[in-house]
Symmetry: C2
Subunit: 212 residues, 2 copies
DNA sequence: ACTAGTGCGGTAATTAAATGA
DNA sequence: ATCATTTAATTACCGCACTAG
């Protein structure tokens, strides 16, 4: 009960209001090639110099506006004017409403995209970790296999290093002779495309609440 | 030189303004354990109902406010009051300014965090792709190695399937007998921790400009 | 319990700069 | 190139919630 001075009451304000945008403008054909009247002649609607300013649209007004926004975020001026007359609002107010609504929509979208991206990112981090482990494991197995092959070959020829499939053996050699457990795997053709910050710290949305 | 219409002019407005917030509060000791009782006495300051309201802070005022914001995002009331008197502003305006500034800072921070996260995410996607390829390659090699081992073993015993190191062989078997070229690798212990949308579409920031 | 003070989210409105026809 | 519209940034206010005395 501390500040109900003039909640959604009228507040007297000396404010020039944008013209009346009366729909009784001589309709000059097109929908996009007219409309000016910024230098409003204050007398319009309110007639007196003072205008009443309602601060906060009624639920009904908001509902209709919101519904229209659902249909199209950026309606034509004609649509806006029609809305204005239907709602008993100044066309200017409707225009302003849509502008602010778009801005709101945008930042909301940003937040949504952020959390979506965040969860995606997190799964990828986990996945990446798993893949790295997988690679290490496979390299180790490959090394063991190669050792086994060497053992079998040596056992067979006892000192001679000629085998039956040289191309495959060298192919295996190449892979198995890499130093295992390294975490980096060549960066074959994708160097320097992105810098890799590699900071896998997963912070929540807490930063929004700490200033400094 | 295009918009000096009435930049920092005055506009008459009927607005009750919160009291004067005199800075002559008796300082009661601590820095964190006081602060309450601003006793603003509403009718104060303006007393007359009409107030002058400057419609846009001067550069100087904004500069000082911005500087203060750099020091601390959420200054004490006393600090705000001091600022107000230094700048010739209503303490209310200063409070409002800080509030709006914080909101702005927050959404800006959100945008920054978003693009940071985005680039991180992109590098991870690339990395993940690379690792998957690596895994496939290694599995293939492992399969080849296992075939080679089988070949050598068969060649040696000609029909009998007893080898010299059974544990290692089964260990290799397990890995090499998985169907290669599959793109999924077990999901060992990490199932259902995160749902994996797996949509690697990399959209830019274009969505911000398309409504509908 | 009561009350004042503050922060925050949401919203309305205005202005400057960018864009478009 | 003027005029109209849109976006981004600002300023301000309300309503709610929380906190502290």
């Amino acid at each position: 009960m501390n500040h109900q001075v003039a909640d959604d009451e009228m507040v007297l304000i000396t404010q020039y209001y944008p013209g009346i945008y009366t729909q009784l403008v001589p309709q000059q054909g097109e929908s996009k090639l007219r409309r000016r009247r910024k230098k409003n002649k204050g007398e319009g609607s309110g007639s007196g110099a003072m205008m009443m300013r309602k601060r906060k649209l009624s639920d009904e007004q908001v509902n209709l506006l919101e519904q229209s926004f659902g249909n199209e975020h950026k309606p034509e001026s004609e649509r806006k004017d029609k809305l204005a007359s239907e709602l008993g609002l100044d066309p200017r107010q409707v225009a302003v409403w849509f502008q602010n609504r778009r801005a709101r929509w945008k930042s909301k979208k940003l937040e949504e995209e952020y959390s979506k991206l965040k969860s995606e990112h997190d799964t990828n981090v986990v996945e990446k970790c798993r893949l790295e482990t997988e690679v290490m494991k496979l390299k180790e197995q490959l090394l063991e296999a190669e050792k086994e092959i060497q053992r079998l070959l040596l056992e067979r020829f006892d000192g001679v290093s000629s085998n039956t499939s040289p191309s495959m053996s060298s192919f295996l050699m190449e892979a198995a002779m890499e130093p295992p457990f390294l975490g980096e795997f060549g960066m074959d053709g994708l160097d320097n495309v992105f810098y890799a910050p590699d900071n896998n710290y997963v912070q929540g949305l807490d930063w929004v609440n700490l200033y400094i």
